[in-house]
Structure formats: structure tokens, C-alpha cells
């Protein structure tokens, strides 16, 4: 019968003492469970460590470094014992069996268990990260509220405080703000300011000038914006940090940005313009900060669950390979609704694709109505316009009276990606003040009307009208 080499137990005892120290300092039941189960597998007695602190101090990197050291201890031990064995001139059968047993015990038992322990620590890390992700948004919202209050009490202004009319443009999935930038330029008035918040963190500032009959964005520095006439409108073309981030993350980040700019205050009114999923993002922001939003105008927005988005969420590989869509993009946000989540390699997260698959906008609106009727009432008071872009089909027929082939155009019931019903937010009922439909000519299946809605001339004219309306 195999009798464990006492040197193994000696080393394990040293490691056990360190493990007990880790458990006590971490104060995590999950960590304790991982160590105790491993030690019971190691046949080295039981771990005896108490968890006294209420604060969990979990540092997975530090624990992994310690386990790596333990692995090294055993590797060094084995090396030394093998060297000792080789020095024996005429080893007996028992000597040979001892070294084989030692090697087997260390390599196939102890080291295997240690590596498994590292894996368990990795899983715990992912679990903690998942929980942290879920609570990050409420914490950031609370922080935003505190900052807003602090700035208000202490009269702290941002660089843009004083602009009373602000347009915010929010793009949709897989996109940047560049298309909206062009439409904002076209719909703006001479002297208006455009702030382009780019995904890479850079911010560019432009003043609109009429140049030979057309609006031109002229790049200027922040210093010039600070001294600009603040009776003009400020247009913020906002690019999300992650192109496929969930609407809640956009709302939290946008609020943080607007507070920093000094634009979330009693005097500034925000008109939101959005395309595609950007409409859901804008709605979320309006639900979170209803005192500050005056109007929302969306085009191409999937207010209902969306088939294409849902399919991409279910088959991300196909979406990537055939349509260049990143349905697994990790955007550091986790929704509390377990249906509105993905699990990629143990990492739970939520993004536009999980959202479009699992939730219609009406669900959150209904929650808001019950949980915060005051905010819902403010939402009712906002001017909300849901525009549906729709593709068109051209039919040809022979006009017998004229003796020639003629064409007539029939609008489709969708824009190639989202149905008119969904874009009109029919499910939101009277919350929507205006439902408009624009014919937008698409090009084939790959470039449908949906991709051309932001630059549609009717939509740009609508932006201009809303910008003008609130200046009067």
C-alpha cells in the first residue's frame, strides 16, 4: 500500500497555513469553499479558517501568484528528490517505488488539484465581476445624481453652462456618429456650435458658417466655444464608448458627460434625435433624466423586439462572418433581467443584441409607470416623435390609354431591418405625440432604407424644424 512521502505533507502543511491566511483576509465564503474542497481532495486534513470581516477583499491575481509559488515549491521538491535518487549507486526496488510514488503524487494529484484551485479562483473572479457589472450602473447613476446636486449647491459650472438649447444626437448599433454629424451640420443654423464626442475619447468643436450657400462646420478650439454666444444652439453628436453598448450604459455615460459639460441643469433643455437603436438609448436617458429632456425624435428605432437583432444574438458567428456584426461585443454592462444577458466564456453581459432580443421598450415604460409615476408623467409631457423610414417597391404596368409603360411606387411595411409598426412605437400608445412616415430608397438587401435614414432630406428638415421651433 502507498504511503505518502512525509515531505509532501510537510509542504502541504505550510501551504495550508497560508491558505487559511488567504481565507481570513479575503472573508469570502466562495473562496473558503474553493480552498476547503481542494484540501479535502489533497488528503491533508481540513482547512480551519474563520470569516470574520463583513468586507470581502478579493484579489484573484495575488491568490494566483501564491498558488503558482506552491506549484513551484513542489516542482523544486520533486527535482531535489529526483537528484537525490540519481545519486544512489545501486537503488533498491523500494527506492525506485518511492520516487515513482512521489512523482505520481506530486504531478498527478497535488499539482492537478492546485491547478484546479486556480481555475476555481478564476471562476470566482468572473462571478464577482458579473455582480460588480450588474451594480455598476446603479452606482454610476447615484454618483451622477450626487455630482449634479453638488454642482448645483456649489454653483459649479461646466465649460458649456449657459447654452439653453441643446440637441443631442445618438446613433444606432454598429455605428459611429459621423452620419449624424453631417445631418446635424445641415440642419443647424449659422453660429450654432457642434461638439463631436468621438469614441476614442477625443472631442472636436465646430462652429457652423454659411459658406457659398451651404452650411460648413468650421473646426475651432474649446477656448473659442467657451466665449461663444450662448444664445445659439449647441449640438452634441455623441458616440457611445462601445458601438453596441446597452441603452442603460449610454444613458449613464451621456449623463456623466452632460454633467461634466455643465448642461444638466434647470435652464438647459435637451432635444434628442436618434437613429435605430439610438432611439432606445435616448428613451432610456429621458426616463432616467426626465426633467432635462424636452423632446425625442427617432427614426428607424426598433421599439418592439427585433427579429434581426435577436437572430444575431442567437447566432453571433453567422452575424459576424456574413454581416460583419459583433453581437458578442462586451460593453461592461450587465442588466438585472436575466433574459437580457449573454454568457460568453462565463462573463455575463448585456448589449444591444440581448436587449433587442429580449425586451420591448414598453416593458420598461410599464415598470416606470408603476415605480416612478412622476417620471412617467414627465415623459408624457415630452414632445415625442417616432418616424418610420420605409423602403419602397416600384411596380411597372402598361397603361393602355396612354400606350406606355408607367411606374407607381408602393411603400413597404419596413425599412429592411425594422417594421413600420415597431418604428412608430405603436405599443407605446399615447406617449408618442407624432408618428410620421418617410419613404427612403434603399439599395438591395445589404443596403436597405434603414442605413440611409439619418441622411434622409425629410428627416433633416424635421430636425431643422424642431431646432427652430424651440428657439422661438
Amino acid at each position: 500500500m502507498y504511503r505518502r512521502n512525509p515531505i509532501i505533507d510537510q509542504i502541504l502543511n505550510i501551504h495550508k497555513a497560508q491558505a487559511e491566511g488567504i481565507i481570513s483576509s479575503t472573508s469570502s465564503k466562495l473562496v473558503k469553499k474553493a480552498f476547503t474542497t481542494s484540501w479535502s481532495q489533497l488528503n491533508n486534513g481540513s482547512i480551519d479558517a474563520s470569516i470574520s470581516s463583513e468586507t470581502i477583499l478579493f484579489n484573484p491575481d495575488e491568490i494566483e501568484v501564491t498558488i503558482d509559488k506552491w506549484i513551484k515549491d513542489f516542482e523544486v521538491c520533486l527535482e531535489a528528490e529526483e537528484a537525490k535518487f540519481k545519486r544512489i549507486e545501486d537503488p533498491t526496488f523500494s527506492d525506485k517505488m518511492d520516487i515513482i510514488n512521489l512523482k505520481t503524487d506530486i504531478e498527478q494529484h497535488v499539482l492537478y488539484e492546485y491547478r484546479d484551485l486556480k481555475r476555481k479562483i478564476g471562476i470566482i473572479d468572473t462571478k464577482f465581476a458579473n455582480v460588480a457589472r450588474a451594480y455598476r450602473s446603479p452606482l454610476q447613476q447615484a454618483l451622477n445624481d450626487i455630482t449634479m446636486l453638488y454642482n448645483d449647491i456649489n454653483n459649479i459650472d461646466g465649460d458649456f453652462t449657459g447654452f439653453e438649447n441643446v440637441s443631442v444626437y445618438v446613433h444606432g448599433i454598429e455605428d459611429t456618429g459621423k452620419n449624424f454629424f453631417e445631418s446635424a451640420v445641415e440642419a443647424a443654423y449659422s453660429g450654432d456650435i457642434i461638439v463631436h464626442e468621438k469614441r476614442n475619447g477625443e472631442v472636436e468643436y465646430f462652429v457652423i458658417k454659411k459658406v457659398n450657400g451651404k452650411n460648413e462646420p468650421i473646426k475651432i478650439r474649446l477656448e473659442d466655444v467657451k466665449i461663444h454666444n450662448k444664445d445659439k444652439r449647441l449640438h452634441l453628436v455623441y458616440e457611445t464608448e462601445y458601438k453596441n453598448e446597452h441603452r442603460q450604459k449610454t444613458s449613464d455615460d451621456l449623463a456623466e458627460k452632460l454633467i461634466y459639460m455643465g448642461l444638466l441643469n434647470d435652464n438647459t433643455k435637451i432635444d434628442m434625435f436618434a437613429h435605430s437603436y439610438g432611439g432606445r438609448r435616448s428613451f432610456q436617458f429621458a426616463m432616467d433624466y426626465p426633467d432635462h429632456v424636452r423632446s425625442i425624435t427617432t427614426i428607424g428605432t426598433p421599439y418592439n423586439k427585433n427579429f434581426l437583432g435577436g437572430t444575431a444574438n442567437t447566432f453571433p458567428g453567422i452575424a459576424k462572418d456574413f454581416f460583419n456584426k459583433n453581437a458578442t461585443e462586451y460593453s461592461n454592462y450587465l442588466d438585472f433581467n436575466s433574459k437580457n444577458q449573454r454568457n460568453d466564456d462565463g462573463i455575463l453581459h448585456s448589449n444591444v443584441y440581448t436587449d433587442m432580443k429580449s425586451e420591448a421598450m414598453i416593458e420598461d415604460i410599464e415598470h416606470l409607470k408603476i415605480a416612478n409615476p412622476e417620471a412617467y408623467q414627465k415623459l408624457e409631457e415630452m414632445e415625442i416623435t417616432a418616424v418610420a423610414g420605409r423602403d419602397t417597391t416600384t411596380h411597372k404596368y402598361y397603361n393602355e390609354f396612354k400606350g406606355q409603360v408607367e411606374e407607381f411606387v408602393v411603400p413597404d411595411t419596413h425599412d429592411g431591418a425594422v417594421s413600420v409598426n415597431s418604428q412608430h412605437a405603436e405599443s407605446l400608445g399615447a406617449l408618442i405625440n407624432n408618428r410620421l412616415s418617410y419613404d427612403v430608397k434603399g439599395e438591395s438587401i445589404s443596403k436597405p432604407a434603414h442605413s440611409k435614414e439619418i441622411k434622409n432630406t425629410d428627416f433633416i428638415e424635421l430636425i431643422r424644424q424642431i431646432n427652430t421651433h424651440y428657439l422661438e
Partner: protein, 370 residues
């Protein structure tokens, strides 16, 4: 059967021959794409960098060994003209880091933001000869001091212009004969041009929308020497080309792009998206004559550019000119992904210096979208 095979072989041979010929033809005119920022400076590139970095805030008045500018006033709180200068070597030294970085877009962004401390140098009195000392006080009272005379007067009272709002004061141009000021109503956006000879013996003010009729009636004649000159008979102001001999005014259509030096027109250069295919640049003289002489003709091929950059694109979404001057055009391209979203973007620096019909295309995203 044998005959059939022969026919098929002949057909394949003919097809291959045509295919080779096409390839050869394309090969002959093959565009040179370089997926990087130019490695070294050149006159046209230097002018682009100067123009981008100094930007709208700096109004270029004189260009030589020293570049002399006026600081643009952006609101009515600044009521005085101020000037600054830099030399070409100071400029070269300032933008030099852009040639040794892997992130030219970042460097360019910094160069734009940090220019004031590095490129704004005071102008000595002896260099100040043609830079009028101008202040616009409340009630639109202009105080002007040139090397020949000082005056102070109210524009509404003395020049019969009903200007009640405060105006933003800037200078349009200046030379040994006099200067042109630009006065902008910050509220209405109205723009006025104030013309004055250096001895202040003649002064006039016209709104931009009046200019065409004023020119056609010959009223601007005394001030023709103050205008930007294209050649001995053509000058330009407010995007209007003037034949100073006949007082004829030629309007450049809004879809065409004026070069920064006002000497060239990029036909349809303000369209968005710029149409693929042959691009044409004309000298102003040829544009005015309406002839088909082109200073440069080259092809734009979006599919090729998309392929060069490995974009998984279904076509062009946005294509616009962001800079146009003699021998260098910079455009911004944004490619569409399938169904929705972007497949990627880039700037294209089209360098016409060596070959105007087959320029070098530098594909590099400088982050310039307008």
C-alpha cells in the same frame, strides 16, 4: 465533337485575351495607394498642415518667409484686431513630429489645440506697416489708425448703414493700398464688408448680398486693388469671381469647391457623397470661360480603397472633401456595413504634385471628417 472542343478552346482563349488586356489596361493606370501618412514634407503637404493647424481662428494676411495673421475675433467681446506671425521654419519644426509617429491623427489633434503657445509670435513695429490698428466700439464706432491717418466715426451715422446690433470685427485682407474688414452680426448672421484705402480717403460698407449689384455698377472699382487676385483681370471676394476690367461677376455654383488659394475649382467637390469615377479640377480662368480644360483629372474608386483597407463594406456611405488646394486634396470616406452601421472610415490624401492625372493616394485616418 472535336470541332466543338476546338470552338470552346478558341472561346476560352479569346476570353483570356480580353481579360489580360483589361488587366493590362488597369495595370497601366494603376493607382498608387500608400496605407500611411506621407513620410516627408512637401510644399503642398506643408500648406495643408499649416492650413489645418492654424485653422479658422487665424486669418492669413501675408505669406512669405513670415506668415502674418490676424487672430479671428469670435464674438463681440473682442473688439480689436490683433496680429501674430510665425516663420516657415517655426512651422516646420512645430509639425515635424507628425512624420515620426504611428498615430498622426493624435499628433494632428494636439498640434491644432496647442498652436497658440508655439506659433503665435508678436509682430515688431517695423513689420506692422500694412496692418491697420482697428477697434469697434459700442454703437458701432470704428476707430482706425493706419500708417497714414487716424479716424474715428460711427458706421450708422457716417456710412448710412442701419446697424443697431453689435458686430463681430475681423479683417478680410490688407495690403499697401488699403484693407477690407468683415463685420458680422452675431444675432442675425448678416455679413458686411468694409472697404478702406490706406489714406482713408475712400471708405464704403456693403452687405454681402449687395456685392453683386455693387460690383456690376462699378462701385467697388476703387477697392479692386484690395481684393485677392487670381490673375491680372480676375479677383475674388465672398466666393464671387470678379472680372475687374468688365465688372462682371461670376458666381461659383454651391456644389463646386473653391481651393484655399481661390485659384482652382474642384468640380462637384462639395457633393456628398463625392461621385466615384473621374474627378476634375479647373483653373478659375477656365471655369469662368466655361471650357473643358482641366488642371487635373484623376479617378476615385471606392471599392479599391475599401479593399486596400480590408473593410468588409457594402459600399460608400459618406465621401466629402475636407481640404482642397493646388496639388493636394484631402477627402473623408465612411464605408457602410451590411444592413446598418459602419464598416470603417479613412482620410485620403490625394497628392497631385508629381502627376496630376495619376496622383498618389495616401490612405490614413486622420480623424478629419469636415
Amino acid at each position: 465533337m472535336k470541332k466543338g472542343k476546338k470552338v470552346i478552346l478558341v472561346l476560352i482563349f479569346i476570353l483570356l485575351l480580353f481579360a489580360c488586356e483589361n488587366h493590362f489596361e488597369i495595370g497601366e493606370k494603376k493607382v498608387t495607394y500608400q496605407n500611411e501618412f506621407p513620410k516627408e514634407s512637401s510644399p503642398a503637404l506643408s500648406e495643408f498642415l499649416r492650413s489645418y493647424i492654424l485653422g479658422y481662428e487665424s486669418i492669413l494676411l501675408f505669406k512669405g518667409e513670415a506668415f502674418i495673421y490676424s487672430d479671428r475675433n469670435m464674438n463681440t467681446n473682442s473688439n480689436k484686431l490683433t496680429y501674430f506671425q510665425h516663420t516657415s521654419s517655426q512651422l516646420n519644426e512645430y509639425y515635424d513630429p507628425i512624420f515620426s509617429t504611428d498615430h498622426p491623427e493624435k499628433i494632428l489633434h494636439e498640434l491644432f489645440d496647442e498652436k497658440k503657445g508655439r506659433l503665435h509670435h508678436e509682430i515688431e513695429d517695423e513689420e506692422n506697416k500694412f496692418l491697420p490698428d482697428v477697434t469697434l466700439d459700442k454703437g458701432n464706432v470704428l476707430k482706425i489708425k493706419t500708417d497714414q491717418k487716424n479716424v474715428s466715426f460711427s458706421i450708422p451715422e457716417n456710412l448710412d448703414k442701419n446697424l443697431s446690433d453689435e458686430l463681430i470685427l475681423n479683417i478680410e485682407s490688407t495690403n499697401e493700398f488699403g484693407f477690407i474688414l468683415q463685420l458680422e452680426n452675431d444675432i442675425s448672421g448678416e455679413i458686411y464688408y468694409f472697404f478702406a484705402l490706406n489714406d482713408l480717403s475712400e471708405m464704403d460698407i456693403f452687405q454681402d448680398i449687395e456685392l453683386t449689384s455693387v460690383i456690376e455698377q462699378g462701385q467697388l472699382k476703387p477697392y479692386y486693388p484690395l481684393l485677392k487676385t487670381i490673375n491680372e483681370s480676375l479677383s475674388v471676394i465672398d466666393y464671387k469671381i470678379i472680372d475687374t476690367k468688365t465688372h462682371e461677376v461670376f458666381k461659383v455654383e454651391s456644389e463646386h469647391s473653391f481651393s484655399k488659394d481661390y485659384k482652382y475649382i474642384y468640380l462637384n467637390g462639395r457633393d456628398n457623397p463625392l461621385e466615384e469615377g473621374v474627378q476634375r479640377v479647373q483653373r478659375i480662368e477656365d471655369y469662368v470661360e466655361g471650357n473643358d480644360q482641366y488642371y487635373a483629372e484623376f479617378k476615385l474608386n471606392y471599392e479599391e480603397i475599401s479593399d486596400e483597407l480590408d473593410f468588409n463594406s457594402v459600399g460608400i456611405g459618406s465621401a466629402n472633401t475636407v481640404y482642397f488646394n493646388e496639388d493636394l486634396i484631402v477627402i473623408h470616406l465612411e464605408f457602410d456595413a451590411a444592413i446598418t452601421g459602419t464598416a470603417g472610415s479613412t482620410n485620403v490624401i490625394i497628392d497631385l504634385q508629381k502627376n496630376k492625372d495619376n496622383p498618389i493616394f495616401y490612405l490614413v485616418d486622420l480623424g478629419i471628417i469636415a
